[in-house]
Symmetry: none
Subunit: 144 residues, 2 copies
């Protein structure tokens, strides 16, 4: 909501600029046009990327999760979702029931970093809570 408010604000500001252009006609409108164009292009690019993220859809072939001992994570899904090794590790540790702090100690990184990883992980898994992440990870064969 704040974001969209800002978007509105930016648009307004842009329009003001355009409007201003009329009074400062000394300069060629091309300059302003270019500026506006660049800004909008950047905005569009940014939004485009954002929108497409987490939108991935996966055709899952029956990846029967093998019940045997040597568990191996499903590399295809891992790659399809763009989950990095570190994120995967964090997922494993979350599944162990550890807190972020404990995960940090286990992986020799700060709690803040763990939070960053888990945040991105949740994003990629399309979940909002750790229990859901564990559940999803299991469904996708990312963790035993």
């Amino acid at each position: 909501m704040l974001f969209w408010g800002l978007v509105g604000g930016v648009l307004l500001a842009l329009l003001k600029v355009v409007e201003y252009q009329h009074f400062v006609r000394a300069y060629p409108s091309a300059v302003y046009g270019g500026l506006v164009a660049a800004l909008f292009a950047a905005l569009g690019l940014y939004l485009g990327r954002r929108w497409n993220r987490g939108r991935k859809v996966l055709v899952v072939e029956p990846v029967r999760a093998p019940r045997q001992e040597p568990f191996v994570a499903n590399a295809e899904v891992l790659e399809a979702l763009g989950i990095t090794p570190r994120e995967h590790q964090v997922l494993e540790l979350i599944a162990e029931g550890l807190s972020n702090r404990e995960i940090g100690e286990r992986a020799f990184i700060s709690e803040n970093t763990v939070k960053t990883h888990s945040s991105r992980l949740f994003d990629k898994l399309g979940v909002r809570r750790r229990v859901q992440a564990v559940r999803r990870g299991r469904e996708l064969g990312l963790i035993p």
Copy 2:
């Protein structure tokens, strides 16, 4: 978000109108500016989407493991630990990845009550966090 987007849109439209009435006739360059901006925004959006399309596009249809027979909780363990029906139900809902609030809505009880149940549940399971509870409940055959 939709709301604020609309707000932005309305403001934008308003300004456009005002601008049009006052200046556009005399200074048509604004029209061009807007056009250019829109065009570039569209271009940016297009590029942004395309940029991400290279990676596999797919959706996840979770691999439903063949759940043969309806799951039945291990009654012995349930009784041995003194877990009441309500607590068991809360455990199931926790395992679904629901928040306490959502569990309350689902079970028609207040969030506070859910907290009481989960607290006692954790106590009986000997855990301190919900992910651990899910894990333990699984090991003990209390949930699928």
